[in-house]
Subunit: 105 residues, 5 copies
Amino acid sequence: MFIGKVVGSLWATRKVDNTSGIKFLIIQPYNLNKAPNTDTIVAADTLGAGEGELVMVAYGRAARMALGNDDMSIEAAVIGIIDEYTVDKDSYSGDLDPEKLSFKK
Amino acid sequence: MFIGKVVGSLWATRKVDNTSGIKFLIIQPYNLNKAPNTDTIVAADTLGAGEGELVMVAYGRAARMALGNDDMSIEAAVIGIIDEYTVDKDSYSGDLDPEKLSFKK
Amino acid sequence: MFIGKVVGSLWATRKVDNTSGIKFLIIQPYNLNKAPNTDTIVAADTLGAGEGELVMVAYGRAARMALGNDDMSIEAAVIGIIDEYTVDKDSYSGDLDPEKLSFKK
Amino acid sequence: MFIGKVVGSLWATRKVDNTSGIKFLIIQPYNLNKAPNTDTIVAADTLGAGEGELVMVAYGRAARMALGNDDMSIEAAVIGIIDEYTVDKDSYSGDLDPEKLSFKK
Amino acid sequence: MFIGKVVGSLWATRKVDNTSGIKFLIIQPYNLNKAPNTDTIVAADTLGAGEGELVMVAYGRAARMALGNDDMSIEAAVIGIIDEYTVDKDSYSGDLDPEKLSFKK
């Protein structure tokens, strides 16, 4: 699992039947380093996460269990909306972004 | 899951029996950053996605469920053809390509 | 599986029901090279790992089996707290950090 | 799934019992970009792919289904030998190698 | 699956119960290129692989099948100890390390 930031939404009319009614978010993996992770991924959301929110994302069976159905064509889902995190800066190795040392909503 | 752009097709005569009749597309993962992701992947398609279209791709059981059969030797599939997406530029971290801020078919 | 260092914790009130009561740690993959791996991941923990400790992390079904329930929306978990490791410096290729040649708690 | 080029073979006498009789190939992921992908992976092969041939490779259950047995300790397999592919150069983003625009055996 | 070199061992007293008695190796993915892959991974071993040996590593269910139990919290395992490999240098793209063209134990 990883921390991601919700950066957008996407819509698809032609899609696999077993995904109808699912909301899809565009999520950027979030790291503690100054250099951002520039990929984006797509995850299903049932929690109502909004743009700019930090979320936990899970892949595979874990994602489908968030939707309650292991037979859906869904590979990633938001499993939590993050309220708070703390990082121990002495434990982290790398060019830690000081603005990311902790977060409270 | 991720957004990909359909960039080509491939054909294989000698292949595992349980994949016969499946159409295979060459897909380039699409990111919002100016620097492209240069890998390509291969995915099964049942939705009729065409070259240049943006699609959602899923891996694993999710992909096989798109084909309706978890016993096929298929690891990736197109699960939707994207009509539209929007990105919140203030949420994205990185060198966002301004042409990728939003998309409408 | 990989070695990770516990660098923080996170909390989410709104989350998928099947994850309630689970403790989530922020973990940085640990490598033997001088250049750190700058990503971080999130893993469930049932062993009581503390900040700065080295742990083994597993993904997928292996992670859910650590929680005793394959139906949870959990994709990664701490499966052990490392007491000791040794590395054979002649076998490793790369810019080995001499401080990482061995570890004993 | 991805396109790979068969670059070698490997042999192991001491191996997990459930993999006996399986042929293992060394495969280099193939990309369309000028800069090669320098990792190599190992995949089981039942199709008789030869050195230098382009193949499709799948991971996980998809790979084991190519061998007809989900209980084998096999994580990757060749699922097809590529006869032909075409790429639409206007859809690809990146430093496309012009020699890789299309392939016909 | 991939080729790895055994570079070390690790020990954990506090660990998930279902992993007791398992030996854990630290393994560096091995590539044919001059530039080494600097990550390391952890894999269970039942074959008695020693430091410096080249092994095949598999992830997921394949790894657990090497231990004979899909309910263990194990995500990676050694599935073979490599006796020999050969590479066709004309098929490989990249900065091949000439010392890695072939291997015989």
